[in-house]
Subunit: 115 residues, 2 copies
């Protein structure tokens, strides 16, 4: 068993085009021994967002803090702390902080098969 | 994209032997379209615990609220909101609420292969 205090994990800027004011902490992934999927903690400053993009794997998200919008093909929807979000493989998506405080959410993704 | 407010998902008692005062809400799983892993929200009342058990799949846990102990082979360790926990396949484990308020945590597990 490994216990990983999230604030002790380095916050790395998300530098993908279209991302702004966003960092990611990789809490649990291959280096910790995760066999199948990874847990990341994202923090988005007010006015910031993750990139509007799509990819062939899913996201499982849980909103921890802040006021955000989840943007899908159909447009934006308000999301609040306690909301879980499933983004299916291939779905276009983005998370925007529309509040005055940092927005924090977990985002889990499958890990690629080990070589 | 599916948005699932966690408190709208039914809390089911955990009835496995050794569990006490614990419920689980399956936020994201096969019925929602999850391809690889499931997100569950556990709530443990003061004095309650999940079963002390082991199984051949991992847990990825994130503590949301409350004061808890994570019990491993080596004994109990305090865990706090913001802590991530990786339980490896085959590791004996338990979470106990040692505080005066409900303890809430997410626990993600791999889904079995679809038949």
């Amino acid at each position: 068993m490994k216990i990983i205090p999230s604030l002790e994990v380095r916050a790395q800027p998300v530098e993908e085009p279209g991302a702004s004011k966003t960092t990611v902490r990789w809490l649990i992934s291959r280096p910790e021994g995760a066999p199948n999927f990874a847990m990341r903690l994202f923090e988005v400053e007010p006015g910031g967002s993750t990139p509007l993009h799509e990819h062939p794997w899913e996201h499982e998200v849980y909103i921890l803090e802040g006021r955000a919008e989840a943007v899908a093909e159909s447009g934006p929807a308000a999301v609040n702390p306690g909301d879980a979000i499933l983004v299916l493989p291939g779905e276009r998506h983005q998370l925007r902080n529309v509040g005055d405080t940092v927005a924090r959410f977990l985002c889990l993704i499958p890990l690629p098969e080990e070589e």
